[in-house]
């Protein structure tokens, strides 16, 4: 069986080749990147923005940003998938912050984590996804809620405090403890330095 470390090594090698082709302005590379990561990028956009049209707009923007500025992705610093997902999340959150009406509710944000992962190719990171989801589930319910609201919901710590009816100091602590615990759990599974 191929373990997650080796899947990661193979993927990173492919990422480097893709980054080189993008720098050389090879249009087939962006097509390939979309084939590989279109699903997760759209998934991230949809996770933050319920509206499929807005999600598509953000997903398109993320790939266009990579095409226009391929140097922004540094294979030495992480996977192309993580980079694209970061870009996508930032763009989606910017949109949510501009338009109060498209904010997702707490319930819809937190419920999705409960559903089991179904699926796909090692490229789309099945092993890693399962590990992160397990790690998220291993947080306390209040830590998970705060982290999910901030990360996928685009809430500031003050909004987290308001929404959960807790003091601001408690919201800060939950975010901090949540991320600290998450990292500890990911270190244990060997996914994070």
């Amino acid at each position: 069986m191929i373990d997650s470390y080796h899947v990661r090594q193979m993927t990173r090698h492919d990422d480097m080749q893709l980054a080189d082709k993008l720098m050389a302005r090879d249009q087939s590379a962006i097509q390939e990147v979309m084939d590989l990561y279109g699903g997760v990028v759209f998934g991230m956009a949809k996770r933050v923005l319920l509206d499929p049209n807005m999600a598509e707009e953000v997903a398109q923007d993320a790939f266009l940003a990579l095409w226009r500025q391929p140097g922004a992705y540094d294979p030495a610093r992480g996977s192309l998938q993580a980079f694209l997902l970061g870009v996508t999340r930032n763009k989606a959150i910017d949109l949510v912050r501009k338009e109060e009406t498209i904010k997702r509710t707490k319930a819809s944000l937190t419920s999705e984590l409960e559903t089991a992962s179904k699926e796909t190719s090692p490229h789309e990171g099945l092993v890693e996804r399962q590990q992160v989801r397990d790690a998220l589930r291993a947080l306390t319910a209040v830590q998970r809620e705060a982290v999910v609201l901030a990360y996928f919901g685009g809430r500031t710590y003050r909004e987290v405090a308001d929404e959960l009816g807790i003091p601001e100091g408690t919201a800060k602590t939950r975010l901090r403890d949540g991320l600290t615990r998450l990292r500890q759990l990911m270190v244990q599974t060997g996914d994070v330095r």
């Binding site: 699903g39 998934g43 499929p52 922004a72 796909t120 996804r129 975010l175 600290t180 996914d191 994070v192």
Partner: protein, 238 residues
């Protein structure tokens, strides 16, 4: 603002990494992280946790035609391709502007916009790319001009992604107020975003396309914006 202690700021490092610090505190926390080894180390650890968080997302099949729509935006027109292949992008932009002559752009607002772009906007290659869109719209006369009292002016320039608005001569909005940009169709305003100015100028990306709208206007509204304008426009295209 009162001095914040290291512990107070440290308690905000995780929120900062998550992008969950309100804009008025961001600078404070960022400056502290940059000058405090302990907080920088903590920020790095939180960042690695946050990177893994992204991987929890479930993939969803992209809508039909998605890749084609992206590719259509990537393939540049033949003329631009030849030009950009000939020189580096930065030089190409300079040559391009010079060769067409800025005089073609005409109008004070256009010059103001070019000044704003030059001063604050052209920082990355991505920005340069957008700047090309903006400049070409400006010079081809596709930009929408907004004017106001006392020389305040703005240009709204359609781009592939929506539009970019550059404004100058707008003083800071009064306390707890912001500027709000509206598109108008059949006299009905549609909010497309709020903004603030610095030193009287702003460049804002608008995700909503101007297609199908007739006019644009800017009003002063309470922070967070209003559903409908509550004051007379300070800038308008009509």
């Amino acid at each position: 603002m009162t001095e914040r202690t290291h512990e107070e700021l440290r308690s905000l490092v995780a929120a900062y990494v998550l992008g969950a610090v309100p804009s008025e505190e961001v600078g404070l926390v960022r400056n502290h992280i940059l000058t405090c080894d302990e907080c920088m180390a903590e920020a790095d650890e939180h960042a690695s946790a946050m990177d893994s968080l992204a991987l929890a997302v479930e993939p969803i099949a992209v809508p039909a035609g998605f890749a084609d729509r992206v590719m259509a935006q990537i393939a540049p027109p033949a003329e631009a391709q030849t030009a950009s292949a000939a020189t580096s992008r930065r030089n190409w932009l300079g040559d391009w502007v010079r060769s067409r002559g800025l005089a073609l752009a005409g109008g004070m607002a256009a010059l103001v916009l070019l000044g704003v772009l030059g001063a604050s906007w052209i920082q990355t290659r991505q920005d340069l790319n957008r700047t090309e869109d903006v400049l070409s719209a400006l010079i081809l006369g596709d930009a929408i001009e907004l004017r106001g009292e006392g020389g305040a002016a703005a240009e709204l320039v359609p781009t592939n992604e929506g539009a970019v608005m550059a404004a100058a001569g707008l003083p800071e909005a009064p306390g707890s107020h912001v500027y709000q940009l509206w598109y108008m169709r059949d006299g009905e305003p549609v909010s497309v975003g709020t903004f603030q100015t610095r030193d009287g100028v702003v460049v804002m990306e608008v995700t909503e396309s101007f297609d199908g709208y007739e006019d644009a206007a800017v009003t002063v509204e309470p922070r967070g914006g209003s559903r409908q304008p509550t004051s007379d426009p300070v800038l308008a295209s009509f």
